[in-house]
Structures are given as structure tokens and as C-alpha cells.
């Protein structure tokens, strides 16, 4: 039995080819669609997406907690799927659509998940919150069951050292229950 895990991937064959090696130290020209606008960047292959986002593009919403893929404060969507940006190389985002916490609602508006985190006290210090919200939005979209246990399971990668988990589960549950 074959199960297609990433059916959307076949749509993303790169138009510009990086199918051969350059020289060590070369930068790579990359086009990234970030929150609806196109960015053209020359990237050192070593640059992570998280550092590129924060230090070159200037979007500080995705947070650098551990930088080792353990806390998920850097969670961002790539083609609608949640991804840890601290463990992604920026060159991997070539021709992909990226959505960060800055891009989930029009300027001045709150996404329903952001409003729910406010309503249910889903944070204290707020450092993990962008990652929590990006995970929560993807979780609802993935259509996992709406029980508190399932929310805890599918959000288990996102750590909150303030321990706001009770509020986070309530916030996610309220949005999951209201979706179309």
C-alpha cells in the first residue's frame, strides 16, 4: 500500500535549477513568497530560515527559543504546513509560500486564534505565543479532533515555560469548536 504523505509537493518543482553543486562559499539566489509578497535574496546555504527572517527581512514574530528544534517558538507555515524554522535552511524555501505570525491577519486585525488566546489567557510572558498560535492554526486546519486530549497531543511540541497550557487548550478548543 502506498500512502501519499505530501501530495502537494509535486507542484513545487523548482523553476530555477539548483540541481548541481556550486563552489563552497557561493551564495544562492532564492525567491520566496513571504506573507503574500515576493522576496528575492542571495543566501549563504548555511543561513537558517529563522535567522534570515529575523535578521535580513526584519520580521521578529517567529522567536528563537532553543535554536535546536525542541521548543517550537519558531513555528511558521510553509505551504500551509507547520515547520520549525530554526532547523530549516533558508535555501529550502525556494519557490515556497511562507506565512508567519505577521501574515495571518490584515494589519490592525486579529486572527480568531489570536483573539482566542487573549480571551482565554493563553500566555503569560508571550515568548512562545507566536509559535503556539501558528501551531494552533495548523492544527485546526489539519482537522484533528477537537477534544482537549487531542489538542494537548497535537500541540505537544510547543513548550510554554510559564505553564499557560490550560489557557492555551481552552483557546484552541474555542476556535476549533467554532470553525465552519
Amino acid at each position: 500500500m502506498l500512502m501519499n504523505v505530501f501530495p502537494e509537493q509535486s507542484a513545487h518543482v523548482a523553476a530555477d535549477s539548483t540541481s548541481s553543486f556550486g563552489e563552497a562559499g557561493d551564495t544562492i539566489a532564492v525567491e520566496i513568497e513571504l506573507n503574500g509578497s515576493i522576496h528575492r535574496l542571495d543566501l549563504d546555504p548555511r543561513a537558517t530560515l529563522l535567522d534570515t527572517l529575523r535578521e535580513r527581512i526584519g520580521l521578529n514574530g517567529a522567536k528563537k527559543g532553543c535554536d535546536h528544534g525542541q521548543c517550537a517558538a519558531c513555528t511558521v507555515h510553509v505551504d500551509g504546513r507547520r515547520v520549525l524554522f530554526c532547523l530549516s535552511l533558508a535555501v529550502q524555501a525556494r519557490n515556497k509560500k511562507i506565512t508567519t505570525i505577521e501574515g495571518i491577519a490584515p494589519d490592525g486585525d486579529l486572527h480568531p486564534m489570536q483573539q482566542a488566546f487573549l480571551d482565554h489567557d493563553g500566555f503569560q510572558c508571550g515568548y512562545c505565543t507566536p509559535g503556539q498560535i501558528m501551531s494552533a492554526i495548523a492544527r485546526v486546519r489539519e482537522g484533528h479532533a477537537d477534544s482537549a486530549d487531542d489538542i494537548r497531543e497535537y500541540m505537544s511540541g510547543n513548550l510554554c515555560r510559564c505553564g499557560a497550557y490550560v489557557g492555551i487548550v481552552a483557546a484552541v478548543q474555542s476556535v476549533a469548536g467554532n470553525r465552519d
Binding site: L2, S20, F21
Partner: protein, 76 residues
């Protein structure tokens, strides 16, 4: 992190060819990156070439067919 060169092949055959081309140095396939990128940050892994296979449609499935005796043995 030490410098490396990056390539994103379009097929499994191309990926294997690139790996063979770089053999003798220190090529690595990049799939998820959970372990590899983490260890590269710590200079535990020091690849010379990164071959990114994340976009290969040929690999975008799990094959769960085949002999089931191990599973049956485990189930008793």
C-alpha cells in the same frame, strides 16, 4: 557552521549521482533536518555537500507493504 555546497536534485537518480560525485568528501542527504541541521550547528556533522531531497515527489510516500512476519512475531 562550516561552509558546504547545496544542491536540490529533481529525481532520486540525480540525487544518487550527486552523492556519488561528492563521495570521498563528506556528502549528506537532507531530508527533515531535525538531526542533521542540529548537529551541523554544533559542528558534530561537518558535511561538504548537502543534497536536499525534501522536494522529491518520488519519495513522498510510505511503503507499508512487504513481509509481515516481524510484525506478526511481535504480536505473538
Amino acid at each position: 557552521m562550516h561552509p558546504f555546497t547545496y544542491a536540490a536534485p529533481h529525481s532520486v537518480a540525480e540525487a544518487v549521482q550527486l552523492f556519488a560525485h561528492a563521495s570521498g568528501r563528506n556528502p549528506r542527504f537532507l531530508a527533515g533536518g531535525t538531526t542533521l541541521v542540529d548537529l551541523m550547528k554544533l559542528n558534530v556533522e561537518v558535511p561538504s555537500h548537502i543534497i536536499d531531497i525534501t522536494g522529491l515527489a518520488e519519495l513522498a510516500f510510505h511503503d507499508v507493504s512487504g513481509p509481515r512476519d516481524l510484525l506478526d512475531r511481535w504480536r505473538g
